[in-house]
Each structure stands twice: as structure tokens, then as C-alpha cells.
Symmetry: C2
Subunit: 337 residues, 2 copies
DNA sequence: CTGAAAGCGCTTACAG
DNA sequence: CTGAAAGCGCTTACAG
């Protein structure tokens, strides 16, 4: 494993100074195209590899942004991560994705490591926990940081926040269930103390109130496993329930599996609506009605806002809400089965 | 956004030389604990951030490994990625995850960017395409590289390969279906020219031959969407089919959704077995029988082998195969419904 | 259009 | 146990 060639080696081989090699590397128009060609040939022959760390040291930016995701196993977040990475790549930025696994301590370490490695910016969908241990170091290091999908740090002028308009989506879904004839509509999944749960319940509660109906609640995690287990809780606590609005599609899909096991006809005996409209929603049986969030579009917008911040210094607005829209499918009786 | 403090600033503040600060940073026992304490206090007061790029330049390794995944949206790979990242983190390595999105060109760019950023090693589950455009630069840069889950580059002494023993798993699954009474067993999903498809079919074909049965084939992609659409192809081409062994769980779950739509009782009218045993398999209805790959364990072993390579210079064996095992559930009639 | 020189923030022998 | 000095591979004014 011999030493990699440096620009000095390339310069020697090409018979120019290392300044010239550096200029060629940057595609500067100052270098005569003849010379540039010679230099590039030398690089190829020697298997030269650009050393970005050295360049960074001298002052330029790394072209690296860090993405920290609370739960990368959740397909909603996976989709966001890969779309964001692709949007940044198209603009010449490398994105390092990492999974905090809902663990505030791990998240702190990941962010510290990113700061050391000198990322130009951080986008974070934070795990629950004390925000200061992760946001304060970012602020101290002067790294532009965007909060997405979950607002953990209240200082949104410092760490702008972007998410979807969950309240509007849940209101639309609930009105749809009411219009379809449902009267005893449960909200299943989500932990009450979390702000995202409150947002997703807000529209539900408002729509019920408009119609003079009262809420039914089954609180819990936001996983497929919980959805499946919630069937029993629903039967015990709210046997009169005729529709379920779920915290997300994962819960809804688990719930549907459980209902089917019990021989309940989803879409007829009971209506179900999910949230997020993950790819699987359209492919499940019955097809799952869901509040669609255009994650890929949201990721592109986030990438655009971040690039603006980095390139022009324009900090994004403290809060941005992307619109959502209900997609009606068979699980809420929208289409025959 | 003022300049970040450097070790020189810290040294001035603490009244020592920058060599001493550097030693403190590395936890060297050479520094008197008194002095170290003063230095650490100075760092804290000034909000000092370690600049890893500068350290790297001087020779030490970055403690960074790159992970390139062909399709990060596939939960099988997501699970591998997050488990690997966590195993490396426990050993003090940062892992940058990136998604090649089955795009050989994007993959080439991602790898080039990782090389520039100076990763110590790369683990890659490669996209299909010409391997040399991605593996040659890695070899030139002298970066230890592991191929996992897909062997694209035949030079496995250079780029050791690790995967699961797919052939054994598919044989076990097929024998199980035969033992359950199935006689017309189709293999659905996967593209024939790909080596992973051949491996997963190998055991299926062997088991059929043992039993004197002949294969039924529906070729295609490996997605949920394909599984759902394969129901029609199956009905048209092989109406006599009484069991399906799917390329993976995604195909199986899509297929089951399609069968249910047609009113077919999965596990009784037709038996279905998947491959990978993703989390959803146990939560679907009916529960999906599947060949379980212990991905988290595999990821940990991969991380261990890589760390050995990095720490002691021991290159892993050219090929490693992790065992797999069939999990029988309701979809193949294993349990009553 | 090209070269010589200084400097980015660290680490590493080498003295003391 | 601590300091002075050289050097890692680049970039960036500054001359020419």
C-alpha cells in the first residue's frame, strides 16, 4: 500500500508547478488547455486521488451535509433520506445519512462526529429528548441546521423547522369518514405527549366537534406491531367503533392485518384511514386510504432551502408547512372492494 | 460566524504549547493530570471543536467507513445498514450510509466522493452494472473494500464477499412445501440473469428434482408491486399452481394482497413462502412463512470482519456464507388460520 | 498564463 | 512531563 500521489507528484510528472495542478483541479480558465491536458494525463497515469481533507483545511467548504434521522427503518423516513440525498447529489453535495435509532445519546454522538468531520450543514429529524445536547454544539460550531418533521428545539429562528400540515390532513380524513357515514371514529396510535401526535389529532378533534361527535382514543406507539395489537384494545374499550383514523400507515396496516384475522371486513364493517401514504398503502389489500405527504417533493424543497442558505446566506423561514391531501381507497369504503 | 478556536488558541489560553494540547486531545498519559485539566477547561470555555480533517492530513486514519447500498428503500437493506452503522459506532467508527438507488452511475459518483473524503474502508452492496468503474478506483486508492449481499466483482480475494446461504434456504423452503402436499410449486420474482436469483432458485430446483417435480416460473422484479401484479400472470400461465415460493418477502406480500383481492384463501387454497423474513412477515395476515436471514447478526459479523481487517490487517476470507433458516407460519399452512 | 511562498490545524519525532 | 520545529496536501494571493 504505497503512498498516494499528491499534487506535487503530479506537478513533477507534468513538468509544471503544483499551483498549476491545483488550478486544473478546480477547472480554472486561467490554465492553458494544452497544459491542463498534460496535467490531467499525468493524474490519470499516476492514479491521483484528490484529497479533500487537505483542501478543506485551507478554507474551502467540504461539500458535505449531514442527515440525522430518528428512525431510518421507518419507510417514511427512509424515503425522505434517499430523496434528500439524491437532491443534494444533483447539486454536487455529498450527504451522509445516519440513523439515531430514537436514541438521544447515540444521536448526540453522531452529531458530534459530524461536527468534527466538518460538515457544512446538518438536517435533523430529531429523536425525543433534551434538544440542547445536540443543538447547542451545532450552534457553537456555527453549522447551519434545519429541523425537519419533528420540532424538538423551540429556537426555530436559529434552527428553522419544516414539516407537513398534519392538522389539515387529519381534519380532511376525519370529515371524509363522517361523510361516509361513520359516527364512532377512533384515533389509534401515537403518544399523547408528543407534539406530532397532538398535531395529527388536532384536525381529528376539530372535525368531530364540527359534527357533534365525541372522540375515541387508543394511545400507543406508531409501529405495525402496535397496530396489530390495538385490535384487541379497540374491541374491549370501544366495541361500538365503526371507523379508525390511524396515526400512520404502519399502524393502519398492522390494524388491518389484525382485523382480517378476526374476520372483520375492512372498508365495510369498519373503515380505516392511515397517514403518510407510504408506497405500500396502494399495494395492500384492501388498498389503504391515507393522507398523502409528498415526501420526495418535501425532501427536494428542503434540499433547495438548505442550498440557498449555504450558497446565498438566506436563512429559511422559521417554519414551513407542506400541504397534504387525502387519497381515498377501499379501506374507507371509497371504492367497492 | 467567527473563526472556530484552534489548538493554538487553546494553548495560549491554557498557557501551554500546542503540542501539549494535542497530547491532551489524544488522552496521552504523558501529560500531567493537572495540566490536562487546565487544558480541558480552556477547551470548554472557548467552545473548541476538534478538526478531524487537519488531524487526518498529518497521517492518522479518519475513523470513517463508507457504506454504499444498492436500494436503501428495501427494508432488508435498511436493516443491514442501520445494524452495521450501530456495530461500527460501538467500536468508535463513524459510518456514512448512502443509497445508489440501483443506479451504477450514481454509485460511481458516491464512491468517488467517499474516496476523496478519505474513508478508511468501504462496504458495498453493489448495483448491477460494470463493476470496474467502482471497484478499480477503490483498488487504486488502496481502500479495503468488502462486497456484501451481491457479488459484482469477481476478484473476491481483493474484495472479499459475504452473503447468506441462499441455496440452502430455498431448498429447505421448497422441501417444506412439498412435505405439506404441494406439487405445482412456482418460483415468483427475480431476474434470471442475476446471480442472486440463480442462487435462490438453485435450492428450489434441486428440491423439486429430488421429488420428481417440475418447476413453474414467473420472472420479474423483486418489488411488492410486482408481487401484486404477478397474481394475474400466475393465473394465466400456471392455473394449476398450488404453492408459490417467492424471491423475497416484498414479492410475497404483494402476491398475497393480490390473491386476497381475488378471494383466494392463502395457506389453504394456495401456500406461499417468502424470503428474508423482514419484520412485516410476522405481522402480516396471514403470517408469512419465510426464510429468515439474521441480518442484524450478519451486519455485526461484517462489522467485526472489517474492523479486524483495519486493525490487524487480516483480510477476511474471499467468501463467507451466513446460515439461514425457514420460519413456518400460516401462509404455508403451517399453523391453522 | 505560470511559479514561489505562506498558511490552514493538526501530529510527531526530537530535545530538553 | 513540556516545548520548538517540521510537515501532512492542498489553496490563495502575489509576482512575474
Amino acid at each position: 500500500m504505497k503512498r498516494r500521489p499528491t499534487i506535487t507528484d503530479v506537478a513533477a510528472r507534468a513538468g509544471v508547478s503544483k499551483s498549476t495542478v491545483s488550478l486544473v483541479l478546480q477547472g480554472s480558465p486561467l490554465v492553458r488547455s494544452e497544459t491542463a491536458k498534460t496535467v490531467r494525463a499525468a493524474m490519470r497515469e499516476m492514479g491521483y486521488v484528490y484529497n479533500r481533507a487537505a483542501a478543506t483545511l485551507r478554507g474551502s467548504s467540504v461539500g458535505l451535509v449531514g442527515l440525522v434521522i430518528n428512525d431510518l427503518r421507518n419507510p417514511f423516513f427512509t424515503e425522505f433520506a434517499v430523496s434528500f440525498q439524491m437532491a443534494m447529489a444533483a447539486a454536487g453535495y455529498a450527504t451522509v445519512i445516519s440513523n439515531a435509532d430514537e436514541d438521544a445519546e447515540l444521536q448526540e454522538k453522531l452529531v458530534a462526529s459530524m461536527i468534527e468531520h466538518g460538515v457544512d450543514a446538518v438536517v435533523i429529524s430529531p429523536a425525543y429528548g433534551d434538544p440542547s445536547s445536540v443543538f447547542d454544539p451545532l450552534a457553537r460550531a456555527g453549522i447551519p441546521t434545519l429541523q425537519v418533521l419533528r420540532r424538538m428545539d423551540p429556537r426555530t429562528e436559529l434552527f428553522p423547522f419544516a414539516s407537513f400540515d398534519y392538522a389539515a390532513g387529519s381534519a380532511e380524513a376525519t370529515r371524509h369518514l363522517i361523510a361516509s357515514g361513520a359516527r364512532r371514529i377512533a384515533f389509534v396510535g401515537g403518544l399523547d405527549e408528543r407534539s406530532i401526535t397532538r398535531e395529527r389529532m388536532e384536525g381529528y378533534l376539530a372535525a368531530l366537534e364540527e359534527a357533534g361527535l365525541s372522540p375515541l382514543r387508543v394511545e400507543g406507539p406508531t409501529s405495525r406491531a402496535f397496530g396489530r395489537s390495538a385490535v384487541a384494545r379497540l374491541k374491549d374499550d370501544h366495541p361500538e367503533c365503526d371507523a379508525v383514523f390511524c396515526f400512520n400507515d404502519l399502524v393502519a396496516l398492522g390494524l388491518i392485518a389484525g382485523l382480517q384475522r378476526d374476520g372483520v371486513a375492512v372498508g365495510r364493517d369498519i373503515r380505516v384511514v392511515g397517514f403518510d401514504d407510504i408506497e405500500e398503502a396502494a399495494l395492500a389489500w384492501p388498498d389503504l386510504s391515507s393522507v398523502a405527504c409528498d415526501i420526495a417533493g418535501f425532501a427536494r424543497d428542503t434540499a433547495g432551502a438548505l442550498r440557498d442558505w449555504l450558497d446565498t446566506g438566506t436563512r429559511p423561514p422559521a417554519e414551513r408547512r407542506a400541504p397534504v391531501g387525502l387519497v381515498v381507497r377501499a379501506s374507507s369504503g371509497g371504492l367497492g372492494q
